[in-house]
């Protein structure tokens, strides 16, 4: 079959991203030809301001070099401007007469700077700020002249002014409104920004209208005259008064335009063979000027061009971040408020901090932050997810920031960190390395930064900081994905929620079946999605789903915990943290027999034997089995430990028999697989020696019964468990805790701890399902007990089954 011809007019970020997406999903469908008016291949326009500021060079910001076009078999015409679209003959014609026929046409003509009709705007020395040519001209002027005037104090204007000031020019910013960036900031934050920039040496002329640009003797511009008669010197005038979609070509071809080329949700124009993406397109009345929405458009457009026909672009909520070193400003959504909205404001002028979150009902409408923007992406995420914030309203302004407690010296503001400050304490990555990688490799997403630098890819506690660095480096281009629709991994577009639902609705019984029926892009998934799929099948269809050992992480496959040198650690179960002389003797014997180098007491009241060779595992297990001991599951996404205090059995303060209660809970939950590890604790009195306040389920005995707390966490980020309910009997403790854990097992996403799950659904929801609805609680509890029925100790099973034992036996040549 003849390949279809795709012609793209415009060679910028949105258009080229569309081609990248298209080549990924339908590599052979089209012969592609690209016309670019500029003489450069696709570059990162967002990073022109660091180039102007002297922090980067043009070469650094090229996103797709010429080799990329060659490798992807794309015919590239640089420096050729298309002047005509002939829709009847389906071809485009360039200025120099070059023609290209198309089956599909993609318009990505971007936008033009808006030039207000000021007398003198065509003088030499008067420029806009849009492309490499303008940037070069400014750099050149900065070396030769003194006075610069920037007209327009939007994002682009301020970045231009900052760059020119850094290059030693005396810069005045002229603005028509009362405060700068009035489209992105409210008055208070605008004024704070103004005084910070003034300290950097910029001057401001606000509330000023330009009457004329005055020519000097040489013919070059020499001054700006305002309507009120004042005149200031200007050897360079940069006009940054906004952008207008570039629709000239489309309009001439009779394609419907209205403040942009009008497109539908699949990015098609009124001529269905012609698509438009990027700044030139008007989607549902909005032409976007930030990169994040344009990349979303690119993805949908590519999907439609590839004739998949499943994607729809439904518009974007955008956020703004100013890229001026050392200054943190963030805004998103409707931050000005209005009818039916409420403001929550925190303003500390001394510390240079201003936060305003606009609410409508129980949801966030918008936010503007100055000085401390670390929670910007959190607010933005909740805005996009439409999350109900009723429960956290009282501490909303104090933020969350996804930051862990340790590993970055407690620093939590990216802007204040020097380049050599360590951001990721797990992988030893400092701020400068991250910024460099973002710039050099053109990274836009958290995942990309993780891949290239490893920052925040281990424990994830510095994710909030990495996000801030990303946001301040690429500005508005950074948008966190909607957490509800984020794909599990690169193998699929489906989210965890989608997959859980499909496995339930379609009764999918194995990871491999899920990969086959749910349209995975890879033949066997990957190390991220397969364990998740395996868990979802097992937890949804207990006793029916097929457990695939190869879809489990090595620890769960080998029933021991892999260590840095490839040896394993073995933790026998001690119910409730209790043991006996016989068990201790068996542990001591095993430690000697297998030459265990390290024996350690764990935080969960168990004994850990570290440094066991894999070949020795089955032998050690059978020795333990003879002593009546079973696996401690210290290696799995499973029930780990129930920690107990001494309790009423011995303690003079004890009100409940906590050891007894702990043993009962641990026996009930033995062998339970879960989305992530699960830890419990039982204390016999409110002194809480078992530290139940930081456990997934914490039980605290009081004279009249037990208090149950849920969703605590003592690791990366300490989370205090929340009070669920108070009960009277041991049986009720089992039922309520069991029901909560089963709800978590059925609904949480893989690798979410209970604290993450409860943050997502809200404690009220948990109370509704577990406390208030008795029938539902009992049903959950029964499903848990059913799932755990007949569970065999994996140590005995693995030591006795030849196929399972195979992995411990090496071959030789």
């Amino acid at each position: 079959m003849r390949k279809l011809k795709l012609v793209m007019v415009g060679n910028g970020m949105a258009g080229v991203r569309t081609l990248e997406e298209l080549r990924k999903i339908a590599p052979d469908m089209y012969d592609i030809t690209v016309f670019g008016a500029e003489p450069h291949p696709n570059y990162n326009r967002i990073l022109l301001s660091p180039v102007l500021a002297g922090e980067m060079t043009i070469q650094d910001i090229i996103l797709n070099d010429l080799q990329w076009y060659a490798d992807n078999e794309i015919t590239l015409h640089l420096g050729k401007k298309i002047t005509q679209i002939n829709r009847t003959q389906r071809k485009v014609v360039a200025e120099d007469g070059t023609e290209a026929e198309y089956d599909r046409l993609l318009l990505a003509t971007g936008s033009n700077p808006f030039m207000p009709p000021i007398p003198g705007k065509d003088l030499p020395g008067v420029i806009s700020y849009r492309d490499i040519k303008d940037t070069d001209e400014m750099i050149d002027a900065a070396a030769r002249y003194k006075h610069a005037v920037v007209i327009g104090a939007g994002l682009l204007g301020l970045e231009a002014a900052n760059g020119l000031a850094l290059r030693g020019m005396d810069v005045t910013v002229v603005h028509i409104a009362d405060w700068i960036m009035e489209r992105q900031l409210d008055r208070t934050s605008g004024k704070m920004l103004e005084s910070a920039l003034a300290k950097k040496g910029m001057k401001f002329a606000l509330n000023k209208q330009t009457a004329e640009l005055v020519a000097g003797e040489s013919g070059r511009v020499c001054a700006v005259r305002f309507k009120d008669g004042e005149t200031i010197p200007a050897d360079l005038v940069c006009i940054a008064a906004g952008i207008r979609p570039n629709v000239e070509l489309a309009e001439k071809a009779g394609i419907h335009c209205d403040r942009g080329i009008v497109v539908n949700d699949t990015l098609q124009t009124y001529d269905p063979r012609v698509y438009a993406v990027g700044e030139c397109a008007n989607h549902r009345g909005t032409a976007y000027g930030l990169v994040a929405p344009l990349f979303e458009q690119a993805k949908v457009c590519a999907n439609h061009l590839a004739m998949f026909g499943i994607g729809r672009y439904q518009g974007s909520v955008t956020s703004t971040k100013l890229k001026v070193t050392g200054i943190d400003v963030f805004s998103c959504g409707n931050f000005s408020g209005g009818e039916g909205t409420e403001d929550i404001v925190l303003h500390d002028p001394g510390a240079g901090i201003y936060k305003r979150v606009v609410l409508k009902g129980d949801k966030i409408e918008g936010a503007v932050l100055y000085g401390d923007t670390k929670d910007g992406s959190w607010y933005f995420q909740m805005l996009k997810d439409g999350q109900d914030i009723r429960e956290i309203r009282d501490h909303l302004l104090f933020g969350n920031s996804h930051l862990g407690d340790a590993g970055h010296k407690g620093a939590n503001s990216a802007a204040a960190m020097p380049d050599e400050a360590e951001v990721c304490g797990c992988n030893g990555v400092c701020k400068g390395t991250i910024v460099k990688a973002i710039k050099e490799h053109g990274l836009f997403s958290l995942e990309d930064v993780r891949k290239h630098t490893k920052a925040s890819s281990s424990c994830g506690s510095c994710t909030g900081l990495v996000e801030q660095i990303l946001a301040s480096t690429v500005g508005g281009a950074y948008t966190p994905a909607d957490s509800s629709s984020k794909a599990i991994c690169g193998c699929t577009d489906l989210s965890h929620g989608d997959v859980r639902k499909a496995i339930r609705d379609q009764k999918i019984l194995s990871a491999q079946e899920a990969i086959a029926t749910l349209g995975w892009k890879t033949p066997n998934g990957c190390a991220t999605c397969r364990p998740a799929l395996n868990y979802y099948c097992l937890s949804t269809w207990p006793h029916e789903a097929l457990d695939d050992p190869q879809s489990r992480f090595i620890n769960e496959r080998a029933h021991a915990n892999i260590q840095k040198d490839g040896t394993y650690s073995v933790v026998p179960r001690m119910w409730g943290g209790l043991t006996t002389p016989d068990e201790l003797r068996a542990i001591a014997d095993a430690a000697e027999k297998y030459k265990v180098p390290t024996v350690k007491v764990t935080g969960g009241q168990r004994i850990d034997l570290l440094g066991v060779k894999k070949e020795d595992l089955p032998g050690m297990w059978s020795d333990f089995a003879k002593a009546g001991m079973v696996s401690g599951h210290a290696y799995g996404k499973s029930l780990r430990t129930v920690k107990t205090c001494v309790g009423a059995e011995h303690c003079r303060f004890g009100t409940q028999r906590s050891m007894d209660m702990g043993v009962k809970l641990e026996k009930m939950l033995f062998g339970m697989w879960s989305p992530h590890k699960v830890k419990l604790a039982v204390s016999g009195c409110p002194r809480n020696c078992a530290e139940a306040g930081i456990k997934d389920v914490g039980v605290i005995g009081v004279d009249s019964g037990y208090e149950i707390y849920v969703a605590g966490n003592g690791g990366i980020k300490t989370e205090v468990a929340e009070f669920l309910c108070k009960v009277k009997s041991d049986e009720e403790v089992m039922e309520y805790s069991g029901a909560f854990i089963q709800l978590y097992r059925e609904e949480a996403y893989y690798l979410d701890r209970t604290c993450h799950y409860v943050q997502r659904v809200g404690l009220d929801y948990i109370k509704e399902k577990v406390v208030n609805d008795e029938a539902n609680r009992k049903a959950l509890y029964e499903r848990l007990l059913f799932a755990l029925q007949g569970y065999k100790d994996p140590w005995i099973e693995h030591a006795e089954t030849p196929v399972l034992r195979r992995q411990f036996e090496n071959l030789s040549v």
Binding site: P523, N524, C526, S812
Partner: protein, 110 residues
């Protein structure tokens, strides 16, 4: 898998294909080369790599196999089964050994 005309004496039989789990591996101890991981992928192809991740020497044999790649169990580097190269942006390489299947038996060229 590699076909080569070199003398048969170089090929050493290690096990049958069925003794390696699909999307899994076995470890072969070689006196000359140390531990070698022999992998079997979803298409029945067999590959052999030195059982040492180029990153921090993790045992690749214990990783999760997908496509023609294994993910190291220690820090999730992805290593290509065909040539031992790390998947970009990571950089590194572990030795790979020619490997073939004949009549259901797996041979390594050492």
């Amino acid at each position: 898998m590699t076909t080569t005309l070199e003398a048969d004496v170089d090929w050493k039989r290690v096990c049958t294909v069925d003794e390696i789990p699909i999307l899994g591996s076995r470890v072969v101890n070689s006196p000359a080369h140390g531990a070698i991981a022999v992998f079997r992928n979803g298409d029945g192809e067999v590959f052999a790599l030195r059982d040492r991740c180029p990153h921090k020497a993790g045992p690749l044999s214990q990783g999760i196999v997908h496509g023609k790649t294994v993910t190291c169990p220690l820090h999730s580097w992805k290593i290509q089964l065909e040539d031992g190269q790390a998947v970009a942006p990571d950089v590194g390489c572990t030795k790979h050994f020619p490997c073939k299947v004949e009549d259901g038996a797996v041979f390594l060229q050492l």
